[in-house]
């Protein structure tokens, strides 16, 4: 079991408040991603759950027990670090076995569990190598092996894939997700990469400046962002935000339209006139950056190839039922 509940968790370093009261309930077996810009407190929040930092206030419950005074070793969690943090003087086998050795398991059982974990992660041929003899992806797998072999209540991942190259990152993303589903263990995963967040998470926690902005499933965050911050942060390319007269028409201070919900029309009907500033042709998509006068520069995503180039005049039409509305405080107005 691994249900993790945060109740009013706070953390300050001297006068600086890093976490300003976080409430969260992570059900057993869920894959939860903490996402936010750098410095938002996501790693600090993870370290508070791990016990590597002491909370300044509030409670952290693991399966209903308050663990704020429990040392990290006794919390039954395992962590994968951004830097991998492998023990350089131990072989892969030694690295994976270390936690079990500390737990005082009999040797035969350790060997069996280490070999099982290594097999799951395709590490069997490397068991007797030292970390320095492995590639980045292999080291990352050893770090994951070290985490899964202890059968913890939950995995904590601290930006584990950020040191890998793009192709490997996509592959490891799938592997981590698959592994977590297979083991059914609760996982908390910190990243600043919203693609990782959207693809891996059962639920996403969006953090900004030490506050939880929204907690929900990826699609919920995409379709019903709680506020301007979440609306701007989730989705790629970013949502177009428009203020002024156009927003007033929709009885809002700000309106938002996602690039994929804008169509380029040439039927001469109603729409926003503009001029293409830059056109990016990716083959599968075409991204247009359109100068729409008073509305500012709008991003448009057209599926497939669209033969337009800089300087072309276009008319843009937003899908009427896909316009997000925000009040003066930046909160969403749901009709």
């Amino acid at each position: 079991m691994g249900r993790i509940t945060l109740e009013g968790v706070q953390k300050s370093f001297g006068p600086v408040h890093i976490i300003k009261g976080a409430d969260l309930d992570i059900p057993d077996g869920a894959f939860v991603v903490f996402v936010g810009p750098s410095g938002c407190g996501k790693t600090t929040l993870l370290r508070l759950i791990a016990g590597l930092e002491d909370v300044s206030g509030g409670r952290i419950l693991i399966d209903g027990n308050n663990v704020v005074d429990v040392p990290p070793a006794k919390r039954g969690l395992s962590m994968v670090f951004q830097s991998y943090a492998l023990y350089p003087h131990m072989s892969v086998r030694g690295n994976i076995a270390f936690g079990l050795k500390m737990a005082g398991l009999p040797k035969a059982e350790i060997t069996q569990k280490v070999e099982a974990a290594a097999a799951t992660l395709n590490l069997t041929p490397y068991l007797d190598r030292k970390p320095r003899e492995l590639s980045g992806g292999q080291r990352q797998r050893v770090a994951i092996g070290r985490a899964i072999v202890r059968e913890p209540k939950a995995f904590l991942f601290d930006e584990p894939l950020s040191n890998l190259d793009a192709a490997l990152r996509v592959q490891m993303r799938l592997e981590v997700t698959r592994l977590q589903k297979q083991l059914g263990t609760t996982a908390i995963y910190v990243t600043h990469d919203q693609v990782e967040a959207m693809t891996m998470a059962d639920k996403i926690v969006v953090l900004n400046a030490g506050r939880i902005e929204q907690y929900g499933s990826p699609i919920e965050l995409y379709q019903r962002p709680a506020n301007l911050f979440v609306a701007g942060f989730i989705g790629s390319p970013k949502m177009n935000l428009i203020t002024g007269a156009e927003a007033d028409k929709h009885k809002a201070t700000t309106i938002g339209v996602r690039p994929e919900h804008v169509t380029v029309v040439d039927d001469g009907g109603e729409g926003w006139p503009g001029k293409v500033v830059i056109a990016e042709h990716l083959g599968s998509d075409t991204f247009l950056y359109v100068d729409a006068g008073a509305l500012g520069t709008l991003t448009v995503r057209v599926v497939g190839e669209k033969r337009l180039s800089a300087g072309d005049a276009v008319t843009l039409r937003p899908e009427p039922n896909r316009i997000y509305r925000f009040d003066a405080n930046g909160h969403s107005i749901f009709a």
Partner: protein, 276 residues
């Protein structure tokens, strides 16, 4: 930008390196050569380099005149003992400063180093009197104590910088893996710190071995280490270069051998591959 490494470059740098090594090593070589000369040849001009009458009589004289083994044993006990005690104090001190520093850690480090800025002779009289009153003059324990105190700041500084280089993540990983502070020290920190510990120990051993000011002033015979042994051959009257060289060669031989065997430990880079 990658530079082209040609055979000529390699040859030139090899020759340069050997030359530099030879220049540094020359005084020691000269001393060893002189120890095998007769007193007359030892200060002859021009000096003969290899073609002289080789003799071991200086070594015989030295051993007859003064008890080498007695002094060597004293040196071993004093240098070894002071190093061991200094390490026992310095490891926890440096560990706590490196891994849980406070606002004042930097100041404490600097304050410790400042004690090395004072010339030892400035405290000779008070130390001498304290030693006299406590009956520590010419005792090994007295010398162990003063050398330990003298080298402690350097030992702590060195260990501190070595410990600082150990990635914190690895220690946190050990903590997450269920290691207590004690086991973290034994299984993770110490193995990673071994090269640093070894080089610190060796340096401290050499410093203590060659320390002459306190050993000459606070010992006469019973506790006198090899420094006193050498000093007894440099007299203001008469020249005994050959004998002095023989005594010096004998005095540095043990530390040279220890250094030779521990150099493999010193150059081993252990942390590579741990992070990133």
């Amino acid at each position: 930008m990658a530079r082209k490494v040609t055979g000529r470059h390699v040859a030139i740098s090899t020759v340069a390196a050997w030359l530099a090594g030879f220049v540094i090593f020359f005084p020691i070589l000269w001393m060893v050569l002189a120890s095998f000369k007769t007193e007359l040849e030892a200060f002859a001009t021009p000096p003969s380099f290899l073609f002289f009458h080789w003799t071991t009589e200086n070594y015989v004289t030295v051993q007859e005149r003064s008890d080498y083994l007695h002094h060597a044993l004293n040196s071993l006990i004093i240098a070894g003992g002071s190093t061991l005690i200094a390490m026992l104090i310095a490891i926890p001190a440096a560990w706590s400063m490196a891994f849980s520093p406070t606002k004042r850690t930097k100041d404490i480090l600097l304050w410790m180093l400042s004690t090395k800025m004072m010339p030892p002779v400035g405290v000779l009289v008070p130390i001498y009197l304290i030693y006299k009153n406590m009956g520590l003059l010419d005792t090994r324990s007295g010398l162990v104590f003063i050398l330990c105190l003298g080298n402690l700041p350097i030992v702590i500084w060195m260990l501190f910088t070595y410990f600082k280089e150990i990635p914190k993540d690895i220690l946190e990983a050990a903590r997450m893996d269920g290691a207590t502070i004690g086991r973290e020290l034994i299984y993770v920190l110490t193995p990673m710190a071994i090269p640093g510990l070894a080089s610190t120990m060796l340096l401290n051993l050499i410093l203590a071995w060659n320390e002459a000011f306190w050993t000459l002033n606070l010992s006469t015979l019973n506790a006198a280490p090899l420094t006193t042994f050498i000093a007894s051959y440099s007299s203001p009257e008469g020249l005994f270069w050959a004998r002095l060289s023989a005594a010096s060669t004998l005095a540095i031989a043990p530390i040279l051998i220890i250094g030779w065997f521990s150099q493999k430990q010193l150059v081993r880079g252990l942390t590579f591959g741990a992070v990133k």
